[in-house]
Amino acid sequence: MSEHSQQASNSEHVVPVSTYVAVFVALIALTALTTGVAYIDLGKWNTVVALLIAVIKMLLVVLFFMHVKYAAGLTRIAILAGFFWLAIMICLTLSDELTRGWEIVSRGWGVIVPLAVRFF
């Protein structure tokens, strides 16, 4: 069991300074980018771009500064589970908050059709 956990241990891996510096430079550049893009009119895409950049920055920090690139599968599963559960909370709550104004159409199975029509 100790052999297995030695392979899985990520603290053994030493990340080169150059990697850390490269990640740092990328993070600063992305911060400048997201700030700059805010001053350009992209309509509703402003939000999408901002979130996309934030996710990329997060991935850089998680993979390199937090060593997840070199970490065991269990660590990755834990992180994914955290975000997945957050997604559950957001999506199911929004499924209520955003549909309160929808009209109820009740013709037997009729409830399903408007739902489907709404999405497709």
């Binding site: 069991m1 559950i88 499924s95």
Partner: protein
């Protein structure tokens, strides 16, 4: 009747050096890092909180003997049911099996010397009693009258009771449970003995692992919810206030995102205990091990997508209601799988009826009733009529009391010899179990009828035609109360005067039964190497060794 109890003449004359007598003095207990002692510290605290919450229940049932209320003003009655719910949910049930039996048994069952983080374990107990202190202080100063659900705007803007103090107590106690869950997850992943593969683990461990997942994923959300509620109340700002664009239902979404999985926190460990009791007292391996194991995980996962069934009549969108209703039916399936598998385990088993088994059999019946009545409530159309009535009260008490509390008592009795090294008198234990079963049914079955007839819950008064059923319920509560007090007496008595138990009085399978009772501080002289499957009892019909 089979001989589940070992011949007492073969047991050692004394209890040797063990975790109880290895060191003396209050400091050795209050600064302990031994998971077994921490389990006992929790046991003491939780027993206290159970009787505080139980007192509130007794007072409520006495009040409800009269249609116009026999004891309290309505405002006081509101505080009674709120206190009862808050204490029982957040300060008793959530921690009951995990913090006592879980802490004590997990390292023993997996073949480890302690949990992964013993100091964190002790800290979690201190955090827990701090939370209890806040809650008790608030209760003694007048309590809250918001119900255990704390819904705004009443709790944030209108109630004149100690909302923030109680919410703080719950917040703190929740943090304690997060640390417990964290400790268990890491312990089970990283500290199993050589040969103890996942599928050789006792099902109690699978159940506690699933429970710990809920602890870790759900509890932080109730923490932030109460935090926001406290800020709204203190600063008079309106996060859940429609006047500033807030939504009271958002609170309910946040609240139930935790509180529904919380009810599975309260029942899953009990199901784990039942798997242990059924196998030990039928002397048979569990039917469908992997189904039972995976059903625990499924319950933990699915429990997070059903919370909207508490909000069917609150103004939630119909479409969300549809989704939540369908998913709520889904969550019944893994629970049913467990019930079928336990029953199949009993079939052709060599069954004996000591007290733990009585609790286990009672659990199977009562949990089934509670679970089935849950389906009435998962169904949107019937829930519209049953919501807010005593039907709901009966439903969840069948599961929480008929299920979880009985499993807790069954587990306490089963592992009592291991924890204390002594046997309790089984005759009195069976008397208590019978009283609890009878008292429980007399208390709560009439409440199904009351709810169906339309009696609302959380009301201090009720129409006169409901009095007979209410009196029956109150009579049952008094029997139930006596049933709970009796174990306090004989279990305490047994600690000094009970016969010495020996390592394995039940001749059960499991690593915890291979070490002395009570165990030495370091649990195992040498970490065992596991080669047996779980519940490796000889098959029925094969000559017994």
């Amino acid at each position: 009747m089979s001989t589940a109890i070992a011949d007492l003449h073969e047991t050692p004359a004394d209890l040797g050096v063990n975790y109880l007598n290895a060191s003396y003095g209050i400091r050795s207990w209050l600064l302990t890092k031994d998971h077994k002692r921490i389990g006992l510290l929790y046991l003491a605290t939780i027993t206290l909180m159970f009787f505080v919450g139980g007192t509130a229940a007794v007072l409520m049932r006495l009040h409800l003997i009269e249609p116009q209320g026999a004891l309290f003003e309505p405002e006081t009655y509101n505080k009674m049911f709120s206190t009862h719910g808050i204490i029982m949910v957040f300060f008793f049930l959530v921690h009951s099996i995990p913090a006592t039996l879980g802490n004590f048994l997990i390292p023993l069952m997996i073949g480890a010397r302690d949990v992964a983080f013993p100091k964190l374990n002790l800290m979690s107990w201190y955090i827990f009693i701090t939370g209890c202190a806040f809650a008790l202080y608030a209760t003694l100063s007048g309590g809250v009258d918001t119900g255990w659900t704390f819904y705004p705007p009443y709790s944030s803007s209108f109630s004149h009771t100690h909302v923030v103090a109680v919410a703080l107590g719950v917040f703190i106690a929740g943090f304690s449970s997060i640390l417990t869950g964290l400790n268990f997850i890491v312990t089970i992943h990283k500290m199993r003995a050589p040969g103890m593969t996942w599928f050789r683990l006792p099902l109690f461990i699978w159940a506690l692992y699933a429970t710990s997942l809920i602890f870790v994923l759900g509890t932080p959300v109730i923490a932030i919810t109460l935090f926001l509620l406290g800020l709204e109340r203190i600063l008079h700002v309106g996060i859940f206030d429609p006047a500033v664009g807030g939504d009271p239902l958002l609170f309910q979404h946040l609240f139930w995102f935790y509180s529904h999985p919380a009810v599975y926190i309260m029942i899953l460990p009990g199901m784990g205990v039942i798997s242990e009791l059924i196998t030990a007292f039928s002397r048979k391996k569990i039917f469908g091990y992997s189904f039972v194991a995976f059903s625990s995980l499924s319950i933990a996962v699915i429990s997070f997508v059903v919370w909207g069934h508490h909000m069917f009549v609150t103004g939630q969108s119909i479409y969300a209601g549809l989704v939540f209703s369908v998913l709520s039916f889904l969550v019944a399936i893994p629970s049913a799988i467990k019930v079928f598998n336990w029953t199949a385990t009993l079939y052709k088993g060599s069954i004996s009826y000591q007290a733990p088994m009585l609790y286990a059999l009672g659990f199977i019946g009562l949990f089934t009733i509670g679970g089935l009545t849950g389906l009435f409530l998962a169904s949107l159309a019937t829930d519209v009529h049953l919501n807010g009535t005593y039907f709901i009260v009966a439903h969840f008490h069948y599961i929480m009391v008929g299920g979880a509390v009985m499993a807790y008592l069954g587990g306490i009795h089963f592992w009592w010899p291991k924890i204390t090294g002594r046997l309790y008198p089984d005759y009195w234990a069976r008397v208590a179990a019978a009283l609890i079963f009878i008292g429980f049914n007399l208390t709560f079955f009439p409440q199904f009828v009351l709810g169906y007839l339309g009696m609302p819950r959380r009301y201090a008064v009720y129409p006169a035609e409901f009095q007979v059923l209410n009196v029956m319920s109150s009579a049952g509560a008094s029997i139930l109360g006596i049933g709970y007090v009796i174990p306090l007496i004989y279990l305490t008595w047994s600690m000094r005067y009970g016969p010495v138990a020996g390592p394995n009085p039940w001749r059960a399978k499991g690593l915890e039964w291979t070490i002395p009772s009570p165990p030495p501080t370091e649990n195992f002289e040498e970490i065992p190497i596991v080669t047996e499957e779980a519940y490796d009892y000889p098959s029925p019909g094969v000559a017994r060794v």
